[in-house]
Amino acid sequence: MSDLKQTVFHDLHEKAGAKMVPFAGYSMPVQYPLGVMKEHLHCRAAAGLFDVSHMGQVILRGPNVAAALEALIPQDVIGLAERRQRYGFFTNETGGIKDDLMFANRGDHIFMVINAACKEGDLAHMRAHLDGVEIEEITDRALLALQGPKAEAVLSRLNPDVAGMRFMDVATLELVGAECWVSRSGYTGEDGYEISVPNAQAIALAEALLADEAVEAIGLGARDSLRLEAGLCLYGQDMDEGLNPVEASLTWAIQKVRRAGGARAGGFPGDDTILKALETGVDRHRVGLKPEGRAPMRQAVPLFQSEDSSEQIGFVTSGGFGPTVEGPVAMGIVADSLHEPGTVLYGELRGKRQPVTVTSLPFTPANFKR
């Protein structure tokens, strides 16, 4: 355990009675004394504060930084307006996904947030391929997420300007006297903010937020059930190097300008595979899955077309119990012919086949402030 990295909030988590677990090389809170179920429900009802400082924060600078980044991701970077953020992903030569990320146009630079487990790989990948771009990993800042229907009211008490932001807006704002880089986004399906705060003032900000009676600290356990109900992918489970974005049902995240016929079509790793997949379709898709009954179907549960067929037609990529849905929820990869909502499939759980229905995502409606 001793070689695990700690975020700046480590002592705060321990004082709050968090159960700490190793995650992507960091010691992180999986739950607080409230427990996963109540943490989840609290976030959907009021506001939850998440320590996501293990994630990578990167600044990209250079005269042609947007065009350069378009050589690594299939998103429209050049067309992203100032003070706006967009979801994206690095692709590999076979069209698979190396990591997913958020990137924001902050005027004279691009600010990017990447997954903790992929941080080193992403940085090496960018350093190898982004000529003429200055790549700076930000290590003197922590990252907090404040999520839930009361997030706006809570954060407005520290700075009323946050209320004017819309979903995926970014701004530089003062909170508890610190220069914070704020985006109106998150990973729960709820309205909320992600806040990059200097390490020196991070504890003060977290304490100011937690002092609000609407706010509870939320661990990784509820973060996972919240994002799963929201139909949001977890890198390494619902997408990986072997799955292209069309198979991962992330077509919406590839803007028209980067597709065949667009002004800047292709030009990213695996573009042949991905553009062809967009044109002609794919053999398998990521879908939502609703298991019947109460038993959760977790990652790697095999899926079959009928109760007795021997040919596996898919598998669960993420699954668990959805506290808001009050039942099990899952996502998985299924064969093309079986991905329409309403299709009944069978998951094999402890040797028994249990019915599971293909469902459109998300399981819980998104509450973004558009």
Binding site: G35, M37, R294, P296, R298, F321, P323
Partner: protein, 119 residues
């Protein structure tokens, strides 16, 4: 009441033994969302997998602590698995077993020994 190293509790009334998990175990498992109970009438051998518990975190197996026949299961857990978190030592019991051999009971811990183990 007797306790196993697997954090089960056993309450014997003659050869009829009620089995559940300890409060300590239910706390460690976190919120329990599903309990798969054996069918009444099932003959089990000691250390057979008898119950599957799913918490928000993971699935765990509960082993039969004795040889015998499952004669009753706690049907209330089907609709309300959270009973295990709320009252692990009482209303959150799993099953009653008619033991064919009570001798392992002598090897199981009393409350003092169990408390020492979990400290």
């Amino acid at each position: 009441m007797k306790y196993t190293e697997e954090h089960e509790w056993l309450l014997a009334d003659g050869d009829l033994v009620t089995v559940g998990i300890t409060e300590h175990a239910s706390t460690q498992l976190g919120d329990i969302v599903f309990v798969e109970l054996p069918e009444v009438g099932t003959e089990v051998a000691k250390d057979d997998e008898a119950v599957v518990i799913e918490s928000v975190k993971a699935a765990s197996d509960i082993l039969a602590p004795l040889d015998g026949e499952i004669v009753e299961v706690n049907e209330a857990l089907a609709d309300n698995p959270a009973l295990v978190n709320e009252d692990a030592m009482g209303d959150g019991w799993f099953f009653k077993i008619k033991a064919s051999d009570l001798s392992p009971m002598d090897d199981y811990m009393d409350e003092a020994a169990y408390k020492k183990m979990i400290d």
